[in-house]
Amino acid sequence: MSALSDSPTVLVARARQSATDALVDVCWQQWGRLGFMTGDVRSGAGDAFIDPEALLLMTLDAVRAEPRLDAALSWWAVVGADLMSIPRLSAIRASVPGDLDGPIVGFAACAVGAGATSTAWKRLARGERVPPPERLKGVSDTGTGLTLVERPALTRPEAAMLRVRALAGVGAKADVIAFLAATSDRSSSAKTLQKALGYSYVPLRRAADDLVAAGIACAEAPAGRGAVRYAFQPGVLDLGNVPPWRYWPQIAAFLLHTARWGGGLPPGASAYALASRARDLAGLFEAFWAEHPLPARYPVAAPRDHPGEAYLEPFAQTVEAVARWIADGLPVGPAAPSGLVASILDEL
């Protein structure tokens, strides 16, 4: 079908579906990497870095379109809640649209019910406590007797952020290590760390300086008044072949915004009105795409090049390109569990 023949309504539906599909797909793939239903997941050069807070937020939204993801959330509440940074979760939450407050409380209640020790989870749960499903009980003790549901696969390179948290505790220091490992081809200023990780500047700077003192990171002070830049010190911590850092909070925000594109508009809204909303949405991410451009084969259309309603089609194509880029960065394999695994999930 020629995209040119698509009506404005079809274009909007197409883009929203692309965003939702990408969201669901990335959730399945990344939870799979972490050990949830691991059967179909393979390591490879295309493996993407996992950002646990962004993944949780994406899943809490995607579960509306793919209810079976609820099983992954239940599993993570049991095995992974104590590896999550709640301050970072809150910081990222502020940048993504949608009513996720209720789902976050729900997840927190599951985490508390499964024995999460963090008082922050208890505060988030607002006194609620949801016991884990029968199939997951006991996994937090020894993990024995479970064939499909296992402890998280923290040793995988793409799980570096969680692995370092398990080693050094949840906080800025662990996340700086993970970030520097995932950006080992370059050095980064404290401001870059702040943009990527969402913590405040001072704790990040302090954490980075501590890592330099410990020999895990190195620092370079450019001549003049340039900011100190930090880099991963090779050969000290072996985290495996950590995949390149991905700005999942920003990508999640893009997908969640796009999945809601056109929502709230009056019925029969004109092509111009839809394009105008698309222009708003694109404007939110213009600086991000400029700073982190996609490879040329995933074109991101600039609104200024497509006046008025003419931006509708290029925007829909941009969403599809981003979705393709996300999918291409993930391992080859089914997007979601199928067959026997799917039927088991349906029962959970």
Binding site: L265, S270, S276, R279, P307, G308
Partner: protein, 212 residues
Amino acid sequence: MPFSASALDRYLRALGDELSLTGADARILVVGGAALVLRGTVDRSTVDVDVLAEIQGDTLLIPRPFSEALGQAIARVAASFPADLEPGWMNAAVASVWQSHWPARLPPGLDAAEWRDYGPLAVGIAGRETLIPMKLHAVLDLGASPTFDASGRNTGATVSLTGYDRRHLADLVALAPTDAELEAAAAWVQDQDAGDIDPLLHAVLAHVRSVR
């Protein structure tokens, strides 16, 4: 960038769409070149849309500034057509002479405007009864560039403008005003200007009569 009647229609539709996105509505009274273009009186493009008034209920408001919703919608349309529209593509400069109060005599014929709806945007396009006196006023408005040079003084038959936008005069001629319309326009213009404009006024009237 100058825009044609069809382009202008497109931008006004876009403006209506922008207003509908915010649930706002607006009624504006358009004069100047845009009104002539929309009415098909002149076959030329225009570079902006002159808004004389914003109407709320039965009240004619000097749109300086525009109401918040309209002002934002105008800016958003400009952003949607960045290669074609300046941020001030729709403006109220034409009403600037009145600052905050209307003159004792409003331009005549405002109630004869032709209204067009663009969703929640209603555009009143001033008719010739309004446009002729306003164009005459614009031709004589020498404040910024007093370089009016009347040639052929002996006959008063031709007028040339130097250092000044000739389009106002061309528009006035294109309107082909009758003697009665010119006299009514001259009377309104003389009400507006305290200075001695008679020599210029007569030269312009003579010129228009000779070439209309």
